[in-house]
Symmetry: C2
Subunit: 506 residues, 2 copies
């Protein structure tokens, strides 16, 4: 490598770090907005966020970055398995996409999303799809224009161009190939469950428990599994999320219901999974691609692992159930590990995604994927969405959607223009199950250790195999490296069948 | 005004608003750092703040701003009493100062301040002035170089160039002219108090009260005097402050001691005064000079007015004392309005500025002003500071400073390079007393109204006469406009004498 290349690469990294720093400020502004900001601050906050987004985009899309990339690519083997090559590939990827999107379209998308979100919230409150319909039509149209700017492979489709923002390398055909067998096998399991005579008890979630005690319990669990509170926070918000600005400043939130303490706990463990991934990113590369998470799907694999593979396991509850009495006293008398485990694993097919159990959750996601794919090809006109939605819920989950508020208006994503996002939730579950099988192979007694509060071996394994690599590998590459196989529906189905058949006496 | 000028002016304002938006982000990052940030976030936060400061400075100091200013000044009467002319004068003022400071010096000052603050904290903890001495020497040297870049009037001195950052138009000679009579008359009052046989009771501040109840009490009072919680917050921090990012998002903090509820209350009312000033700035001009506060001195006049003229008045306590029982129950039995008023007004000469009472407070500030002025001229070598400090405390306040921790190492300001800052505290008290006399003249029954919870007339008067003008007038101009007279020590001394003589039976 020549000195000139060193200089070009260094300058490129400096620009990347500056864009990263701006992104980290965006992270704090967003967290504050959801947790702390007084209501009057909303208008000004939108202006702050828009400025940071513009400054970030200017850095990424600049002609200087294009020139620096060209200079580095001339002098280096960008396909090499090195940090430098991985950084170049990622910056090239992001630069090309940023350049392809005209500023006027970016602004139109942002302005439309802002109004569409407001109209969606009003429409949802009134369960009035017709109010939202023109905005969804406009959003789908803008998404098509965006996809055209980005482009897609000759054997691909417009949806692929959108999904690339969330899950690099992801295509509709590739997703369908994994989702198809998952749906069929899941349908079989759900049928078995529906026909079973045995049902897990929900007793723990029928007890009202004070919020302060639920928070203290949540904090203890988050700390025990490995979230570092000297480098992060846990607060309360309506919709739990994990944000913040740096591996040393991770902000996560959870939620509480008077009853349903297992919901607070699973939210906390889910966000802790995201948070521990962020805390585990390599410090020295923060602000560059190799210091960034891989994708939304891989991020979700981390959250789901702590939520489901750990937090909904019988072994975990043998350790956690005895702690219930210390936090909640006589109110939880008689709740032992077995009852708590059952409460955390009740299966009830419903029509609300964010309230879904582990067994039915992926059906919700697959329905959305199939519908948004059809919206993008034009096979499904927006006006027909409610009917198509309700039919799929009948077919896949056997439930009757009572109204659009609890049907196709329930999620915010499409109003934000985030088509292509939903599958990352199920991809996360799939990656998670496949990673976890590898972790179990690598660490003898891993699951049994949960019963004694031994979570560090799993966290160490995740740090070593996933976190410390940042965005060095693509999702597909990472999956092959960690598990030796391409992504498949088998590990997730093995996990679900092994858990839910015994719980239902099957 | 020609169209070309309109365009130049509009472009100038757009740049000003962008710099303002960056400043508002700085405000949120700073607030979060003091209230919410996990300890691990400190290093990254410093990088975020440095980036925002650089982006802000780039906008203010750019050649484009110089050209736009020149174009506008050619076409407009910049001495006119209009919003446009005031904006031009202020942007010219800030641009010229930003340009005069070389980037290398700015960086050296920032880097030195960062280390010096750390060394100061360590030195203070160990009460070891020698540890801090080399850093203060370096800081004073950098301040001299900074002053030389800025320049000062032929009849002025280097200190003036520094003070201009905090109090535009302020000079050491001008400050000395007002502080001289203030010091003499204050010395007389303090001697009278020292000789008096009567002492106000401190009974209310001897009662330990739970923090949660103190917070609820503080919030009730802040809301009652006019702080708008839909556009702001009150949290807890070690050192109370008011920050935030916009007139619609004002973040203030207060502090609590187990006993001393009047301290929590005066901190809250003080910060509420700052906060209501920010909330009262003209919305349409936010981000431009006419949407910004005038100076630190004027800002302090607002905080002191609610803290002292309102919150330490007998009339206020006739309204507030009956609320004590609702918040604190039997613990405050027997505390009536008179006892509470006395507790809020005990005079105890001490050596800690931030714990000083209303009567002695300004002595602390005047001592610092005299010392930093001498540090800047070179008449006082840094090595002689502790001795000079202790002598002045003996002379002005009659107290023996026990050690440097409680002496010349007690304040953070000089370690941050903020020489020229201290006088704004006493200028604030002076402006406050002079403004308040004008308010009393304009609003019959103003003070009596406090006893019935009528605070709105004072807030309306401040909105009308001070807040809504932003930075349109200089501090001196504003004082003349509002009170018809230049700043003088008389109103403050009249206020202090009228209060403290009767309280001490004089």
């Amino acid at each position: 490598m020549t000195t000139a290349t060193d200089t070009a690469y260094d300058r490129l990294l400096a620009i990347s770090r500056e864009a990263g720093l701006l992104g980290s400020i965006d992270g704090l502004l967003g967290w504050d907005q959801e947790t702390t900001m007084p209501p009057g601050g909303a208008v000004h906050r939108a202006k702050q966020l828009a400025l940071i987004a513009r400054l970030s985009h200017e850095r990424l899309a600049s002609a200087e970055v294009g020139d620096l990339l060209a200079a580095c690519e001339d002098a280096m083997d960008v396909s090499a398995d090195t940090v430098e090559a991985a950084n170049l590939r990622a910056i090239r990827h992001d630069h090309d996409r940023a350049v392809r999107l005209p500023a006027t379209l970016v602004e139109e998308i942002a302005a439309t999303a802002s109004t569409a979100q407001h109209e969606w919230a009003e429409a949802r409150a009134a369960s009035d799809f017709d109010r939202f319909r023109p905005w969804l039509e406009k959003t789908v149209d803008l998404c098509r224009r965006k996809a055209e700017c980005y482009g897609w492979a000759s054997d691909g489709e417009p949806w692929d161009a959108l999904a690339e923002d969330y899950e690099p390398g992801c295509t509709a055909a590739g997703v369908a190939e994994v989702f198809g067998p998952l749906r069929d096998r899941l349908r079989t399991l759900l049928d078995e469950i529906a026909d079973a005579d045995t049902r897990p008890s929900g007793r723990l979630d029928e007890i009202e428990l004070p919020e302060a005690a639920q928070m203290a319990f949540s904090r203890e669990i988050a700390e025990a599994i490995g979230f570092d509170f000297s480098r992060g926070r846990l607060d309360r918000s309506t919709h739990p999320f994990c944000g913040g600005s740096h591996c040393d400043d991770v902000r996560m939130t959870t939620r509480f219901h008077p009853a349903m303490v297992t919901d607070a706990l699973s939210s906390t463990m889910h966000e802790s999974g995201h948070g521990m991934y962020e805390q585990g990113l390599p410090y020295e590369h923060i602000g560059t691609p190799c210091g960034h998470s891989v994708s939304l799907g891989i991020h979700e694999s981390q959250s789901r692992m702590w939520e489901n593979q750990v937090g909904r396991s019988a072994s975990f509850w043998r350790w956690a159930a005895p702690k219930l009495a210390a936090h909640f006293g006589d109110a939880v008398a008689g709740i032992d590990a077995e009852l708590a485990y059952q409460s955390a694993n009740r299966v009830v097919p419903g029509f609300i995604r964010v309230e879904a159990d582990e067994a039915t959750y992926n059906m919700h996601v697959m329905i959305r994927f199939e519908l948004e794919r059809a919206l993008m090809t034009g096979d499904l006109p927006v006006a027909d969405l409610p009917t198509a939605w309700n039919e799929k819920y009948r077919e896949y989950l056997g439930v009757e959607v009572p109204d659009d508020r609890r049907g196709c208006l329930q999620d915010i994503h499409w109003s934000m223009g985030a088509l292509g996002y939903f599958p990352t939730y199920t991809l996360g579950n799939l990656y998670c199950a496949q990673f976890f099988e590898s972790a179990c192979d690598a660490i003898p007694g891993l699951v049994d250790g949960f019963a004694e509060g031994r979570f560090q071996p799993l966290l160490d394994w995740l740090r070593e195999n996933i976190h410390r690599h940042g965005r060095r590998h693509s999702p597909a590459q990472l999956c092959e490296r960690v598990t030796g196989r391409p992504l498949s529906a088998d590990p997730l189905m093995r996990h679900l069948e092994a858990k839910f058949r015994p719980l239902h006496g099957i």
